[in-house]
Amino acid sequence: MLFFSYFKDLVGKEVTVELKNDLAIRGTLHSVDQYLNIKLENTRVVDQDKYPHMLSVRNCFIRGSVVRYVQLPTEGVDIDLLHDATRREARGG
């Protein structure tokens, strides 16, 4: 639940999602759900020449199970808030 809430707060920010098939997609976080499925808007693939498969795509839905990393803007991260939230989660879990 922690990361679901965390991603909900990041809606509207620019992120880069790196998938388990090495594809990296940059876009604006539109929405997220309980499975951490991600919907991105205004997408472009990071290495467009290598991956032209998504040239005509501007919005996409990414299944949570295939995400390797979600790269966040440093300004978008409140590290202290995250520390506190994780500590609370660890205590309660």
């Binding site: 098939n21 501007r58 299944r63």
Partner: protein, 98 residues
């Protein structure tokens, strides 16, 4: 959140492009989905990319794709008509490694 994905409802009856676990690209009209992201794709065809020849399109028809095989369910826009598929050369996508 009750439905499959943060709003796959908005994509129903739209053309989408699905990338599968094994690196295939299948384009079709989304007819239905469920909470496990299993999807029903109508008028589907597979786009085969290769470095040697232009994109090949294999007609498939009505397909059900199991959710755990879906990597990206893209929203294909009409930008697609701007693409000249015969000129595109690319390595096929890599399969997913968990």
């Amino acid at each position: 959140m009750a439905t499959g994905g943060p709003g796959l409802e908005s994509l129903v009856d739209q053309q989408i492009s699905v990338i599968t676990n094994d690196g295939r690209n299948i384009v079709g009209v989304l007819k239905g989905f469920d909470q496990a992201t299993n999807i029903i794709l109508d008028e589907s065809h597979e786009r085969v990319f290769s470095t040697k020849e232009g994109v090949q399109q294999l007609v498939l028809g009505l397909y059900i794709i199991r959710g755990d095989n879906i990597v990206v369910g893209e929203l294909d826009e009409e930008l697609d008509s701007n693409l000249d598929l015969s000129k595109l050369r690319a390595h096929p996508l890599k399969p997913v490694i968990h």
